[in-house]
Symmetry: C2
Amino acid sequence: MLIPKSHPRAASLHIREKLVSGYKSGLLVEEGLLAHGRGETFDYLIGEKTSKYALRAIKAASVALILAKAPVISVNGNFAALCPKEIVQLAKIVNAKIEVNLFYTNEKRKRNIAKTLKKNGAKEILGLESKYYKTIPKLDSARRVADKRGIFSADVVLVPLEDGDRTIALKKFGKKVITFDLNPLSRTAQTADITIVDNVIRGMKILVDISKKFAKKKNLSKIKFDNKKNLAHSINLVKKNLRRMAHV
Amino acid sequence: MLIPKSHPRAASLHIREKLVSGYKSGLLVEEGLLAHGRGETFDYLIGEKTSKYALRAIKAASVALILAKAPVISVNGNFAALCPKEIVQLAKIVNAKIEVNLFYTNEKRKRNIAKTLKKNGAKEILGLESKYYKTIPKLDSARRVADKRGIFSADVVLVPLEDGDRTIALKKFGKKVITFDLNPLSRTAQTADITIVDNVIRGMKILVDISKKFAKKKNLSKIKFDNKKNLAHSINLVKKNLRRMAHV
């Protein structure tokens, strides 16, 4: 696809191409492309940069992952297409397991995602063998499968770009949920314990860097973090940007 | 793709499926799916219903199309996938030509779109035969082709879901531009003469209904319409909804 260099949104169009390439490699389904588009708009509305509120959430997330007993990073197609390297790096730093877990589940796609992660240095990938499948209560049948060595028995789960129903089910099931969601109003954003309102490409790089530093600290303690309040700040940021962009 | 009935965003997910089905029939490219996702977010922010400002723009658009000497409806893949029937209905009512005109141009895709429109009752489709191609000035080479019997010689052009560069070029080329754009801040929205900030599926149905009534009127006269002011109202609507949704 030829993107004219003169086009003012060339950068954003190039990120789209990254996702389209992930789609063509069988990592994500068409609905994942649409979902990314939804995120693009919110990214544009938050100003296409990491806010101080996102940074605050990233720090809280980093500490929660490092202090967790059994942290798990849940990976879907969009997440794998956008930042496979950072997923593997983060898992190593915070000693988390990686589990492939999809909204529109499909065994072949799971294997494609696992392959991409392994290419980027991952060793063990959960969520691929049916003998380990267990079901999360209070969820529709197709979407409630989790790996009993992974999400099912985790205390802290990082589930970026996640569906609202599943986030709520994980919370009810007693998990501490960390997510990336560019829509500060979404059910996932509002339900999670820690919501990072940031583009996952930008945010994961920062989460990796901060975790490297935090993991070396001896007396790391939990950061006080009010997710609802932090989300309200992000929503205000959107309102401020709308005002600025619209000159009204 | 199985969408759980219990899912609160099932309606929106079903519209996505309509677009995905258009994608699978070769009407649109992956980037079109992403672009739709961007629109979905704005639709959510304007409240997923036709506002009075959108209705005002639809009325102005209807009159402009009916009074035009040579109106043309420009059709891309997303537009054809979402409302092929309404495109053909509107063209008949306002006596407009239909031209297939793509951002990522491709002859095969053009023919697929023409086929869909013909299935829905269209007779003549422009933009398919290279012997009629003429170039619009001040646009990158791949995107400046138009049909000399259609957009090239039109006075009023309806170009929904259009790219900013192309809208600006059409304006500079002396066309009256009517568009559908869910982002009231976009360059297309801000550049067009009449911007309908509405979901194209909802808005086209209303445009067809209103045009049926207006076309019967004897002394139809132009409606005074200030696009910038109308867009400012739409932007305020987004801000109000954000406030309401966020309870902050």
